[in-house]
């Protein structure tokens, strides 16, 4: 498939709905409606506003990935900054041999993997398990809500159990290797297809599939007894 056709689309099953409109999608200028290729070419020619629009088009997913994988705002900010500065400095090398998002995700995932590996070698840098639940999320309900369709707020025991499940899932995810963690995050929470994950990680779909199998097996063991 020629890159012009796929450049403007994402390999996601469903993009996360954030409730806000990005500047890139609502701006009055013609540039904001341009496809990736036009923006990239203009950014390569030194047009800062074109690069800013590219950033605004993709940075929500990048920050979300970094927050989910690394679990702290500080690390996610570092990843965001490092990734987009790297993209800016190396944009002139991008030759449209693959889709822009693939190239971008390759950079982002490498930086995330570096962070995870560094953290593994320094266990004291593990992030705290995120337990705060916003009111909006509470209204969506936890695991028991989804399973049985009844509110948890009236039942403190269920609320405690819901928190316990969240804590155990988080702990189980942290037991995965950095690569398994990335694969699992990109597949389950970013909704990317295995082939796109393989492209982003610079490996084959088969290898990604094996990582997914290993990750699932580990999670199953860790979460035994929850079901």
């Amino acid at each position: 498939m020629p890159s012009e056709v796929i450049a403007g689309s994402l390999p996601f099953e469903a993009l996360p709905s954030t409730g806000t409109t990005s500047i890139a999608s609502s701006g009055p200028s013609v540039l904001s409606a341009a496809d990736d290729r036009t923006l990239i070419e203009r950014a390569q020619a030194g047009d800062r506003s074109a690069f800013e629009l590219l950033v605004q088009r993709y940075d929500r997913q990048v920050l979300r990935l970094a927050l989910n994988v690394l679990g702290t705002a500080e690390d996610a900010r570092d990843v965001y900054q490092e990734a987009f500065l790297k993209i800016y400095r190396n944009l002139h090398r991008f030759r449209f041999e693959c889709a822009f998002y693939t190239w971008m995700y390759r950079i982002v995932t490498n930086i995330c993997l570096d962070h995870l590996r560094r953290r593994r070698s320094h266990p004291e840098e593990q992030p705290p398990v995120v337990r705060t639940v916003s009111s909006e999320e509470r209204s969506e309900g936890d695991f028991f809500d989804r399973q049985q369709g009844s509110g948890v707020h009236s039942d403190p025991e269920r609320q405690v159990l819901g928190h316990e499940i969240g804590r155990r899932v988080e702990a189980a995810l942290q037991s995965l290797s950095p690569r398994e963690r990335m694969v699992f995050e990109m597949r389950h929470y970013q909704g990317m297809k295995l082939r796109a994950i393989g492209d982003a990680l610079g490996t084959t779909e088969e290898t990604v599939k094996n990582s997914l199998f290993r990750a699932t097996s580990k999670l199953r063991t860790q979460l035994e007894g929850l079901r």
């Binding site: 099953e13 954030t18 806000t20 500047i23 800062r48 690069f51 800013e52 950033v55 605004q56 940075d59 929500r60 920050l63 979300r64 927050l67 989910n68 679990g71 702290t72 705002a73 996610a76 900010r77 965001y80 900054q81 987009f84 500065l85 800016y88 995120v130 337990r131 705060t132 639940v133 916003s134 909006e136 999320e137 936890d142 695991f143 989804r146 399973q147 819901g162 499940i165 969240g166 899932v169 988080e170 995810l173 597949r187 389950h188 929470y189 297809k193 295995l194 599939k209 997914l212 199998f213 699932t216 999670l219 199953r220 979460l223 929850l226 079901r227």
Partner: protein, 357 residues
């Protein structure tokens, strides 16, 4: 070609099924096999259940950046870093232009080989010198003792028609010790030269000065700036406050608008002041004025007085708009910070309200 489905390879296929990675045909095969084999049906149920449990996880991205303030902050920091990188590059290139022999050589080349440029430059220099010399001469003649000027001490009997037709020549402020208002000496032509003297405590002096700052086209920038400085100690006076707010909205010179915001900083929660500051933050085309307006707004929001007035939705909307749309990265970042602080102030005040219904 997909591998044939057996009990031995069912688990891997069940994982892909639960992950939504199988095509329709393979999904059907998995379902048919599960119906025939109770063990494999249990494996499939286990995978689906595991996926549901994982889907129930509260994602850190939701908790840590639900309102997207972190995203706005990241963007702002990135664009600032890009600005810094862009500035650093031309700096190196400009360094060579600072060498004097380059300039000498450049001028020599331009004027010798382009006589038209030489003529244009001479005309421009002549015009500038003529304008500046005229102004300088007028200043000298006004300040020489014994010149035929009329000095009128406050209360100055200047009528409204005189105000509307008078032209300015200069303003002089004499600071006085303690907190007393400065002595003002305003030199005007209405139509004859005259000097209006007094302090902003005099109602007539205030009337003239507020007229000056409210009429940007009629008076010089320096006179308007001087008048604003003179009136600053009386900024709480409703007439002065209104004139300063008006200058902030309409003065053509950004330096005057900036001085007007500074003068309005200490003024209480008057609606016209708040409105003028918000207008400057939202609409002023000068980033310096917008930054000053933003800083003043944040100061006002933090002040004890602000906590007693109702929540200003217009201010919040403008801050949100600036956070996303302002061309200046500092304003985007500072607006995001301000919104974050306001959110935390709201959270802090919520339990307090609960304790004291």
């Amino acid at each position: 070609m997909v591998e044939e489905l057996h009990c031995s390879n069912f688990e891997d296929r069940a994982i892909l099924y639960a992950a939504g990675e199988l095509i329709e045909e393979d999904c059907a095969a998995v379902e048919v096999h599960a119906q025939q084999c109770p063990n494999c049906a249990a494996v499939l149920a286990r995978e689906i259940s595991l996926r549901k449990a994982l889907a129930a996880r509260v994602q850190p991205a939701h908790t840590l950046d639900h309102s997207e303030l972190l995203l706005a902050r990241c963007r702002s920091e990135l664009f600032e870093a890009l600005d810094d990188a862009a500035v650093a590059q031309p700096k190196r290139a400009w360094r060579s232009f600072l060498r004097p022999w380059r300039w000498v050589g450049g001028f020599h080349h331009a004027f010798v080989f382009h006589p038209g440029w030489s003529a244009a430059t001479l005309i421009l220099v002549g015009a500038l010198a003529g304008t500046a010399a005229r102004e300088w001469y007028r200043q000298i003649t006004l300040l020489v003792p014994g010149n035929p000027v009329i000095t009128v001490s406050a209360p100055a009997p200047i009528t409204q028609p005189e105000l509307e037709t008078m032209a300015r020549d200069g303003i002089r402020l004499e600071p006085r010790s303690g907190s007393r208002a400065p002595r003002v000496e305003l030199q005007v032509r209405s139509p004859q030269p005259r000097v209006v003297q007094g302090t902003p405590d005099d109602a007539e002096i205030r009337r003239v000065l507020t007229y000056v700052i409210g009429h940007g086209g009629q008076f010089d920038d320096s006179v308007r700036l001087g008048s604003l400085d003179a009136l600053r100690p009386r900024a709480n006076d409703p007439q002065v406050r209104a004139a300063m707010s008006d200058a902030l909205r309409h003065d053509p010179n950004p330096a005057v608008r900036l001085r007007a915001i500074e003068a309005l900083r200490g003024v209480g929660s008057a609606p016209e002041v708040q409105s003028a500051i918000l207008g400057a933050l939202s609409d002023d085309d000068n980033p310096g004025v917008r930054i000053q307006a933003l800083n003043t707004l944040i100061e006002r929001m933090r002040s004890r007085e602000f906590s007693r007035v109702p929540r200003d939705d217009r201010a919040l909307n403008i801050l949100r708009d600036r956070m996303h749309n302002d061309s200046n990265s500092y304003i985007r970042s500072r607006s995001a910070d301000a919104l974050g602080q306001l959110a935390s102030m709201d959270e802090d005040s919520a339990p307090a309200r609960g304790r004291h219904p």
